[in-house]
């Protein structure tokens, strides 16, 4: 009897699992499928390709437009992630370990930034960056990315830092290490997994951005892939860009899929740990 109920429960949960997986994967599989279709079968309305081709991928990697955008995307996201994680780690360490007035204020400010409507910055940043010569440059995008990634980094990292056995730090200090040394030599290695998880989350955020990328760039100098995608027109006026757009879309989805496949546990723990306890 007991065995039977668990089997039935398992089947029921299994069915629910399948629904979730299908719901999550269908749009991704669909755009991948489109990217492998030949121009002739592109408009047949079938979910799976009848004729497979890699031409779409060849096309996009032959065009400067896409390759430049890909380089921009990778470079900007990596630099912004690095800076945001370093600054975030410093602040998170102070928040989780040190007692100082203004701590509450900093937590409050990062919360406000997390809720800040980014579109409100579009007009003023456009004008400010034009005046400073930052418009349409890498730093022009990296700056807002760092800003909006910082709350995420600070919250996730302070949650991680609170789980670290801090007695080790005390031990290091008793052995004559300064607070700074204790941070660099003892705590930083222990915090590495948390830093890594945070880096993934921040990278996903920067990789994803469209609003800043489309308003603060105007040429291939700093245009990232999501924006380039929306401007794809095909090689000639008469060519349908659908295949190329889908291929480019698949290319920028690959890193996300890899992160999710290999670091699912970390991403989930990173997102949930920051959430409940603030």
């Amino acid at each position: 009897m007991a065995v039977e109920t668990t089997t039935r429960a398992k089947v029921r949960w299994g069915l629910l699992d399948v629904i979730v997986v299908v719901f999550a994967l269908v749009p991704v599989l669909w755009i991948a499928s489109l990217s492998f279709k030949t121009p002739a079968t592109l408009t047949d309305g079938k979910f799976w390709p009848r004729e497979w081709t890699l031409d779409n991928y060849r096309t996009i990697f032959d065009t400067d437009q896409f390759v430049r955008a890909l380089v921009n995307s990778i470079g900007i996201a990596l630099i912004a992630t690095l800076i945001a994680v370093v600054l975030g780690a410093m602040a998170a360490y102070a928040i989780s370990r040190l007692d100082f007035p203004g701590k509450k204020l900093l937590v409050g400010v990062s919360l406000l930034i997390a809720m800040f409507p980014q579109v409100s910055l579009v007009s003023p940043l456009f004008e400010i960056e034009r005046q400073l010569g930052l418009f349409d440059t890498w730093p022009g995008l990296i700056l807002p990315y760092i800003t909006f990634a910082l709350p995420l980094a600070i919250y996730t990292l302070s949650a991680f830092f609170k789980q670290i056995p801090w007695d080790l730090e005390k031990a290091a200090k008793m052995d004559g290490a300064t607070q700074g040394q204790a941070f660099r030599r003892v705590i930083a290695p222990l915090a590495a997994p948390g830093l890594f998880t945070t880096a993934i989350l921040v990278f996903i955020f920067c990789w994803n951005d469209f609003l800043f990328a489309i308003t603060l760039t105007s040429t291939e100098r700093a245009r990232t892939v999501p924006v380039a995608l929306s401007f794809f027109t095909g090689e000639s006026q008469f060519e349908d860009p659908t295949g190329a757009i889908c291929a480019a879309a698949v290319v920028i989805t690959i890193p996300i899929i890899l992160f999710v496949l290999f670091f699912q546990r970390r991403i989930v723990s990173g997102l949930t740990s920051g959430a409940v306890k603030g």
Partner: protein, 333 residues
């Protein structure tokens, strides 16, 4: 306007450090910290404070410089007639831009669209997200697979997902377009809005679910077992045991998703480009700036959107008080 108030406060705090902490002991405190047991408490405290401020300063500075300054600047811009196509006509015109925007029918249409999308998507996401959270938390089989699959919509670039939906509903190309005999759903207002909401819900339900799952993890198993022994049905266990414990997590999730939904832009840009009166306020602000190059009007919209979001956040925090995220963070070390 609390954002504008904080940077000033931060500066005051920083100044205090400079005067109280002083450069006098610049090299000393690190040594003192090493000999915590012997050093007088106040010295230690001071060193700790200084280190705390030093570590937080860069992050605080970046956040304030990139948000508070531009938003103040956009208040200034919003009081001017400032069209980049006619830079000579730039002049201070007081609140005229606000009158122009607030009496404009496009603004209110976009505002209505944004509000509709926000309310509908957040409500649907709360229900679906709760279901997904329960599945991810309690499923007996394939927990890893389900969590991995659910993270894909969260991680995927919104523009990519939007293109997938767009092609899915494009007549001829799409597998969904034939559901409604031969019509082109993305060329009509109601169906366009429905598709935009579908795309939003698909993309952000996992995030909602993850936030809710964090709350689910706080529900004690014993409590559920006890309720079960006392004869509570599954629904009663959910409403009487789980929901009360999860309340803070639910409020956090609702707050973040509401504010996020209000910023809807990417999906609309790709799916309809704002055609057929499907523009959100973000779309409208973008169009005014990039297509219209009208900084005055664009900034006015920026300020109005900022105020709306501030009001939403304020109402949430007032209504739910201490349940607001981060509100108890200061007390913890």
């Amino acid at each position: 306007m609390s954002v504008n108030a904080t940077p000033a406060g931060a500066d005051v705090a920083a100044d205090e450090t400079a005067t109280r902490g002083g450069g006098r002991h610049a090299a000393v405190p690190t040594q003192r910290a090493g000999r915590r047991a012997r050093a007088p408490l106040s010295e230690n405290k001071r060193a700790e404070r200084r280190l705390g401020w030093l570590l937080c300063a860069p992050a605080a500075l970046v956040m304030v410089l990139v948000t508070a300054y531009p938003i103040l600047y956009s208040v200034w811009l919003s009081l001017q007639r400032f069209d980049l196509r006619f830079p000579d006509q730039r002049e201070f015109i007081g609140l005229e831009n606000y009158v122009t925007v607030l009496t404009n029918q496009f603004w209110w249409t976009a505002f209505g669209v944004t509000a509709l999308i926000t309310v509908v998507t957040v409500a649907v996401e709360l229900v679906l997200g709760m279901g997904l959270a329960l599945i991810m938390h309690r499923t007996l089989v394939g927990r890893g697979i389900v969590r991995t699959a659910a993270l894909i919509p969260y991680g995927i670039v919104t523009v990519v997902a939007a293109f997938s939906w767009r092609y899915a509903w494009t007549p001829g190309t799409g597998y969904l377009a034939n559901l409604f005999d031969g019509s082109a759903p993305l060329t009509e207002r109601a169906s366009s809005l429905a598709i935009i909401m579908l795309a939003e819900i698909w993309k952000t339900t996992p995030f909602m679910a993850l936030l809710l799952m964090a709350g689910l993890a706080l529900v004690p198993e014993d409590l559920l077992k006890a309720a079960s022994t006392d004869g509570a049905t599954a629904w009663q266990r959910f409403t009487k045991v789980m929901l009360p414990v999860m309340k803070p997590a639910i409020l956090v999730a609702l707050l973040f998703r509401t504010l996020d939904a209000f910023r809807v832009f990417d999906n609309i840009f790709v799916l309809t480009a704002g055609g057929n009166e499907t523009s959100s306020v973000s779309m409208l602000a973008y169009n005014n700036l990039i297509r219209g190059l009208n900084l005055g009007i664009g900034s006015t919209m920026s300020v109005l959107i900022f105020l709306t979001v501030a009001i939403i956040a304020f109402v949430f925090v007032k209504l739910f008080g201490t349940a607001a995220p981060g509100s108890d963070d200061g007390e913890r070390r």
